[in-house]
């Protein structure tokens, strides 16, 4: 592609991880990507929900409301992440209560006011940004659990050529047979269950007749974050995820394909060691 291409960055799932947020914003700037959007879920998991809201507001990052933002904004009883496993629900509730206790009234109002979707045109293509899916804020769009036919229907209904979402925490991109694209930005606040501490976000690049997606891995001082999580007395399972790059909680909904890919990679890493 030539220099004429347009570039944008999409990231989601901040999860109160200020270290990841700062590292990603710096990486976006360093790469010279002129615009960035956040796909929601500012709180949960990490130690700094209030600071993350402040950073997004200061940096004027247009943000889509995630289910977490909706719940905290409206003072609901839980995050509505949609977990079905009892342990997942217990850990999710722990972080939710922690986040809820940290967030100021002003931040709550900002979270409440966020739009559930954002639309714009990108190199002649209609883009729809949402958190879960265009039809439901907390719908999980896992790569392996969506047929092309289904994603095409979502694009049709949303009147979008590029559909971008987050919520699952795992990043993926698919070009549909119709030529449309679905991009899941993944999450920056939690590693991608791939044994690589750090954050992942998506860069979309387009010219008039070309489009591609690059996922960037951004390391940060994750061990410093682990120490702060320990100091804040967050569950040790959360700190363990930051330290190792493997999820320890809240993946009961993960489909078997993603689950096996991770387990096989983890086993291979252990064998190689």
């Amino acid at each position: 592609m030539t220099d004429a291409r347009e570039r944008i960055a999409l990231f989601g799932g901040v999860y109160a991880n200020l270290d990841a947020l700062d590292a990603v914003l710096a990486d976006i700037a360093a790469r010279g990507i002129p615009r960035a959007w956040c796909l929601g879920d500012v709180g949960g998991f990490g130690p700094d929900p209030e600071e993350c809201v402040a950073r997004l507001r200061d940096a004027e990052v247009p943000t889509v409301q995630g289910n977490y933002d909706h719940s905290i904004g409206h003072r609901l009883a839980d995050c509505a992440c949609g977990y079905t496993d009892a342990d997942d629900q217990r850990f999710a509730q722990w972080s939710y209560d922690f986040t809820d206790a940290q967030v100021s009234e002003a931040s709550r109002e900002w979270l409440r006011s966020l739009p559930v979707e954002r639309r714009f045109t990108f190199a002649g293509r209609r883009v729809l940004l949402c958190h879960g899916s265009p039809r439901r804020q907390n719908e999980f769009l896992w790569d392996s659990a969506c047929s092309d036919a289904f994603l095409d229907r979502l694009c049709d209904q949303a009147e979008a050529d590029i559909l971008a979402c987050s919520h699952t925490g795992l990043h993926w991109h698919r070009q549909l047979p119709s030529g449309r694209h679905v991009v899941n930005s993944g999450a920056i606040g939690r590693p991608a269950h791939d044994g690589r501490p750090g954050a992942w976000y998506a860069e979309l690049r387009a010219a008039r007749d070309a489009f591609d997606v690059a996922f960037h891995h951004v390391p940060y001082d994750h061990l410093a974050l682990v120490r702060r999580m320990q100091a804040a007395e967050l569950p040790r399972e959360f700190a363990e995820t930051v330290r190792t790059g493997w999820w320890t909680t809240c993946f009961g909904n993960m489909p078997v394909r993603e689950r096996l890919r991770a387990e096989d990679a983890r086993r291979a890493a252990l064998t190689a060691r």
Binding site: R136, N138, A145, D156, R257, R259
Partner: protein, 366 residues
């Protein structure tokens, strides 16, 4: 936004239903208009579910105080005039009864009355399945569920799974007694190589071997456990479903289920709890005729079209298209020969519709 409805329905609905069902026998008889002859209500698997104040009240939707009237005539279906009609909002899931009603087990509570000699619905050929798959993909379907009967009795199952999985996610629902070594290796290889998820759902009826075998036949528990261990040895993580008997608390059952699997050396299974339905052979097992319950009289504002799975799914058998995988033997459940024909709203006339409504349950994986 539909999100809150959905999440409330599953969170509040399932748990709340259990609590209320457990409490209900202590309520004075006749307090609820739903309660038919008291004896029959006691015997009902959903004995006096949640309908007066349960999940609806918690979601804060209008019409929280729901009263459900006895139907005016006997039978499993209420008169259709007064019941809400569930529109098909979108087609997210298609259930395909690939094994028909043929099963190697004859469980005493089977809601589809399956067994070795049960051929009311025939096995489907791979060509027949492919036609239904194409039809559903044309409607933007997200995923397919292959069921029966016991799907692994279908001699073409492997071709059916491979062909379907190339196009969409697939879940196979099985009793887990027919896993051979070769078959487990095939499942493991396919699960790793396919771009879509191939989920396996293995059903259990109790957390204790003898209680399970009482439903399913002696030795069924041991065979299913051997199957689950073989899957886990290949790194597969099946979803294990447990049937929740009336009055059993959801958290208690979930804990007992996890403990039972651990005791069998299984650590990777995912759990899903399903309510018992007063359908098929289960009606015979209960022994007493039940007065069907009805959603007639549900105040207009109380009906939430997002709550029921039939708002986003249909089922097909060799005999046509049905509203859901539960009602394939009910005249009211058959909606036509084609999915397009079956896209019309479904009047929620059946007793089973009350169970789904009351528990907020979905047959889907999540």
């Amino acid at each position: 936004m539909t999100r809150q409805n959905r999440s409330s329905a599953s969170d509040g609905g399932f748990g709340a239903g259990l609590t209320n069902a457990a409490e209900s026998p202590e309520r004075p008889s006749g307090e609820s208009p739903l309660r038919a002859p008291p004896d029959a209500a006691e015997a009902s698997p959903e004995a006096e579910p949640v309908l007066s104040t349960g999940p609806l009240a918690r979601t804060g939707r209008p019409g929280a105080s729901v009263s459900l009237h006895e139907p005016r005539q006997p039978g499993r279906c209420a008169p259709s005039g007064d019941v809400p009609a569930q529109p098909l909002l979108e087609l997210d899931a298609l259930w395909i009864q690939v094994a028909g009603t043929v099963c190697n087990l004859t469980c005493t509570h089977c809601f589809v009355t399956c067994g070795p000699q049960e051929e009311r619905h025939a096995m489907m050929s791979s060509a027949e399945v492919a036609r239904r798959v194409a039809e559903a993909l044309g409607m933007g379907v997200r995923e397919f569920y292959l069921t029966g009967g016991e799907p692994f009795l279908n001699p073409e199952l492997e071709a059916i799974v491979e062909d379907t999985l190339a196009l969409a996610p697939v879940t196979v629902l099985t009793n887990g007694t027919l896993f051979t070594e070769r078959r487990v290796r095939w499942l493991a290889a396919l699960t790793r190589s396919a771009r879509h998820s191939l989920e396996l759902r293995v059903s259990l009826d109790a957390t204790e071997p003898n209680a399970h075998d009482a439903f399913r036949g002696i030795g069924a528990w041991a065979r299913t456990m051997a199957g689950l261990r073989a899957l886990e040895a290949e790194g597969l993580a099946p979803i294990v479903t447990f049937t929740r008997a009336p009055g059993v608390d959801e958290a208690t059952l979930a804990a007992a289920a996890a403990a039972a699997l651990r005791a069998e050396g299984l650590s990777g299974a995912r759990l899903k709890l399903l309510p018992l339905f007063a359908l098929g052979r289960e009606l015979t097992r209960l022994g007493e005729p039940l007065a069907p319950r009805s959603l007639a009289g549900l105040p207009a504002g109380a009906f939430d079209p997002e709550r029921l799975q039939c708002g986003r799914s249909r089922a097909v058998t060799s005999r046509g298209v049905y509203v859901c995988p539960l009602l394939v033997d009910e005249a009211a459940g058959r909606m036509g020969d084609s999915l397009a024909e079956a896209a019309r709203p479904f009047p929620l006339v059946h007793d089973a519709c009350v169970t789904c409504w009351a528990t907020g349950m979905s047959c889907a994986n999540d």
